[in-house]
């Protein structure tokens, strides 16, 4: 078992454990903090796959901006108390069963479609570097890039319109 496998298992266990804590925590603040831990584990996976640009963007955008927005909203509504109404136990069991069935079906369906020789190269390759990605983004994908700026503008206008008092 070399260092790459040890890192992979460590990050995977960290990601799955913190994802489970996100959906089982009673207090929404703890859920946000565990979700940040999940995002850091996923960023670790990106760094292992040599996708440095996406790892940094993941930390800046998700763990930095989006999660701070969640924290602000939770604190604004004063929801950091453990009085959330719970679903009935049968609904919880049914939900967990449904998710488990999805996991089982997807893994079983994809198990036969991949061969043992298909590897994701770890710690090599240059397609994840910001130089190559930036070149591709501003040549081939320049139209979607500009459209996404319009999307951001409309999201900003929409958030302000929805949020203002009438």
């Amino acid at each position: 078992m070399n260092i790459i496998q040890i890192l992979f298992w460590f990050l995977s266990v960290l990601a799955i454990f913190s994802a489970l804590m996100v959906i089982t925590s009673k207090n929404p603040i703890y859920s946000v903090l565990w979700l940040i831990a999940t995002f850091f584990a996923i960023s670790g996976h990106y760094i292992m796959l040599n996708a440095q640009f996406l790892a940094i963007v993941n930390i800046i955008v998700y763990a930095g901006a989006i999660m701070v927005l969640f924290l602000f909203v939770i604190m604004l509504m004063n929801l950091n108390k453990e009085t959330e109404p719970q679903k009935s136990r049968w609904l919880k069991i049914a939900g967990a069963l449904a998710g488990g069935c999805l996991l089982l079906v997807l893994v079983a369906a994809l198990k036969s479609s991949v061969t043992k020789e298909q590897f994701a190269t770890v710690n090599e390759g240059s397609i994840g570097l910001i130089k190559n990605l930036g070149k591709e983004l501003f040549t081939t994908y320049v139209v979607p890039f500009e459209i996404s700026s319009v999307l951001f503008l409309s999201a900003m206008v929409g958030a302000v319109v929805i949020g203002k008092k009438e």
Binding site: K116, V122, L151
Partner: protein
């Protein structure tokens, strides 16, 4: 790493997100579960892009740009997720202002 390890990891994260949506009643936690599912898909796309690059190099294509599209898709998914979160949280704040709760069970009617 074998690609199947990444497939299983992503499916596990995605299923945890599904279970979160199905079992919780707090709208903010449901929203966070959706973010978790988006991140599972992102991880899968990056792993597949590295697998595609590996296959292209083995097939003799040494230009080194194969598989770059997957990572750009991940970038665009992040852009759309950021826009989605800003609008979604504004909707949740408005809902809290109107019915003083973020419980999704109170939202089973479109008017009140």
């Amino acid at each position: 790493m074998p690609i199947f390890s990444y497939i299983v990891l992503s499916i596990a994260l995605f299923s945890i997100g599904i279970v979160g949506v199905l079992t919780r009643r707090n709208a903010i936690i449901i929203f966070m579960s959706i973010e978790l599912m988006l991140n599972a898909v992102n991880l899968m796309l990056v792993a597949f892009s590295k697998m595609h690059q590996n296959a292209a190099i083995l097939a003799g294509d040494l230009s080194g740009t194969a598989g770059m599209d997957g990572q750009l898709f991940v970038f665009f998914i992040m852009v759309v997720a950021a826009a989605e979160v800003s609008v979604g949280l504004a909707i949740i704040v408005m809902m809290y202002r109107n019915i003083h709760s973020v419980d999704v069970n109170f939202l089973n009617r479109l008017k009140h």
